[in-house]
Amino acid sequence: MRRRGKKRLVKYLVINIVVWALAILWILPFLGIFMVSMRPFSEVIVKGWWHIIGHYTLKNYLDAWSNPSSPLKVGFKNSFIVTVPATIIPLFIAALAAYVFARFSFPLRTMLFIMLLVIMAMPQQMTVVPLFFMLNKIGLYDKLEGLILIHSAWGLAWITFFLKNFFDTLPREIEEAARVDGASDAHIFFRIVLPMSLPAIASVAAIQFTWVWSDFFYALVFLVSPQNYVATLQVATMKGQYYVDWGLLAAGSILTMSVPLILYALLQKYYVRGMVGWTVKG
């Protein structure tokens, strides 16, 4: 009896130590980059960032924020200009479509739904070349508006899929009750269904915001003028080809990831539910 208990305790301790060691290993790069960002690079390169004693300064952050060649303050502004509409527009449009997919049967319904799934499996690379010509033709190449449109369209497929799955779980009786009570279709959708879907909408908004904010590929391809660069593009250009100023880069990295990280801290539950939800179950 006692031996069993002891064995169990040892097992428990080993598991805890191993898992936590792994967790610490996982967070180490974040700690490291944070330490580097807070201290003069000359000091870090000599002693290593793990020596806690030394000078602490915000100089790297100030440099990154108003760097003469790629000022992050401009990148931040551009990132917000792109990300906010590219979150709201597809969320709204996809919610309408998802509701139709969840509640009505109509010709081509299955085919259109499969089309959405195929788009979800497509790499972004598959759209770039024609989009480049299209944007040039309509004058949106190297424009934030063009990027907004492309991100909005690209987000529609997964958001529709996600929200359709969510609407499927809502009891139809509530909408039927509203219809008997005299509500119009628009009223039912906007005043009953959408408010009931707030958790799903929060998940979608958090994830779409993060993805658009984090996007690098579309921005790299469709933005050329430095004054139009979004934050991810600027951080990437801060890293020189041969010499790396880690202090500046660390501060830039932390600033760039701080926006989705803050969102994650605020909406952690919705994040996780969203990441899991849109993949689990059809």
Partner: protein, 369 residues
């Protein structure tokens, strides 16, 4: 003032015929129950009246007005759902107010007037303390009352209820039955109520429409349904335990018609012989309640052997074999008051109340006479 009239309603889902040529008239202020097993089409019928489904054939009339193609909102009906379907993001007050708020401009009501009426209805249903809560914070019984209040506030022409009590626990269900009936009487509102629970139907209905396989088998008062089933399905669906059905044959002897059943033979009363011939297969229906049990032999009584005794408190249910000699088993159930002790294996003598038996044609299932 509201009558509901269904004329030849047919509804199909793919190949399945959910509702099969239904004709039904619901009178003003009547409490009509649609009763039947699950999948019999009763909920679909209700949803057609509500306007949530549209029939493939037939017409729906409310007060002689053809509403077949009207949206629910233009029919002036209210509906209570099995899972209550309360709006989770609205308070109880706003849930109840919802049907009026939607029509506020049409009706020319102010918010204050609406909330005053919410309070009136809430008082009637004794939920005025709950008005500021959200549905998620309420018990099942409270949610039920809120759903009723929401269906009441508009004073609709017709109240539609889809198994509204089935999610409540047994005791609450009994209370709500009485209360619902009282409310309906007081307000005098035409009500169509769907349930699969025959006890609920018997205790609440003015009339019951029993449905099976998408058709209405019988419409009548609870008494009619109970004492005078028009079909063997009704006989076996109603009652706990349901009516005993014994397979018999008519025999013509010396110009008299006899009913020959396992364990007994009996002359058929003159009144109904005109519907019968010799050699017909007949189902004899005897309610378990209408059989007297004797321990001593009695002339004309049926000899039976007790198989199982089920005590039910003040009553007993005996499972009996009425043809113990023949080697086959013909089992019937008999309900009797628990005044005496019975034990399995015992032989007893049964005397049915012959004025209350039913006869059905074995081929069609329909009642004879």
């Amino acid at each position: 003032m509201a009558r509901v009239f269904l004329e030849n309603i047919v509804k199909r889902f793919g190949k399945v015929v959910a509702v099969d040529h239904i004709n039904l008239e619901v009178h003003d202020k009547e409490f009509l129950v649609l009763l039947g097993p699950s999948g019999c089409g009763k909920t679909t019928t209700l949803r057609i009246i509500a306007g949530l489904e549209f029939p493939d054939e037939g017409r729906v009339y409310i007060d002689d007005k053809d509403v077949t193609d009207l949206e629910p909102k233009d029919r002036d009906v209210a509906m209570v759902f099995q899972n209550y379907a309360l709006y989770p993001h609205l308070t109880v007050r706003d849930n109840i107010a919802f049907p009026l708020m939607i029509r506020r401009k049409q009706l020319g009501l102010t918010r204050e007037e609406i909330y005053r009426r919410v309070l009136d209805v809430a008082k009637l249903l004794r939920i005025e303390e709950l008005l500021d809560r959200k549905p998620g914070q309420l018990s099942g019984g409270q949610q039920q009352r809120v759903a009723l209040a929401r269906a009441l506030i508009r004073r609709p022409k017709v109240w539609l209820m889809d198994e509204p009590l089935s999610n409540l626990d047994a005791l609450l269900r009994l209370q709500m039955r009485a209360e619902l009936k009282r409310l309906q009487r007081e307000i005098g509102i035409t009500t169509i109520y769907v349930t699969h629970d025959q006890a609920e139907a018997m205790s609440m209905a003015d009339r019951i429409a029993v449905m099976n396989h998408g058709r209405i088998v019988q419409v009548g008062t609870p008494d009619d349904i109970y004492f005078r089933p028009r079909h063997v399905f009704v006989a076996t669906f109603i009652g706990a335990p349901p009516m005993n059905i014994i397979r018999c044959i008519t025999v013509l002897k010396n110009d008299k018609l006899y009913l020959s059943c396992p364990g007994m033979e009996r002359e058929i009363p003159r009144g109904i012989t005109k519907y019968l011939r010799g050699d017909m297969e007949i189902l004899l229906g005897i309610r378990p309640e209408f059989v007297d049990v004797y321990k001593e032999p009695k002339p004309g009584a049926i000899r039976a052997k007790i198989l199982v005794v089920e005590p039910q408190g003040s009553e007993l249910i005996l499972n009996l074999n009425i043809s113990p000699e023949s080697g086959e088993e013909t089992i019937i159930k008999v309900k009797t008051r628990a005044l005496r002790r019975y034990s399995p294996g015992e032989i007893v003598y049964l005397e049915p109340d012959w004025t209350r038996v039913s006869l059905f044609d074995a081929k069609t299932g329909k009642a004879i006479a």
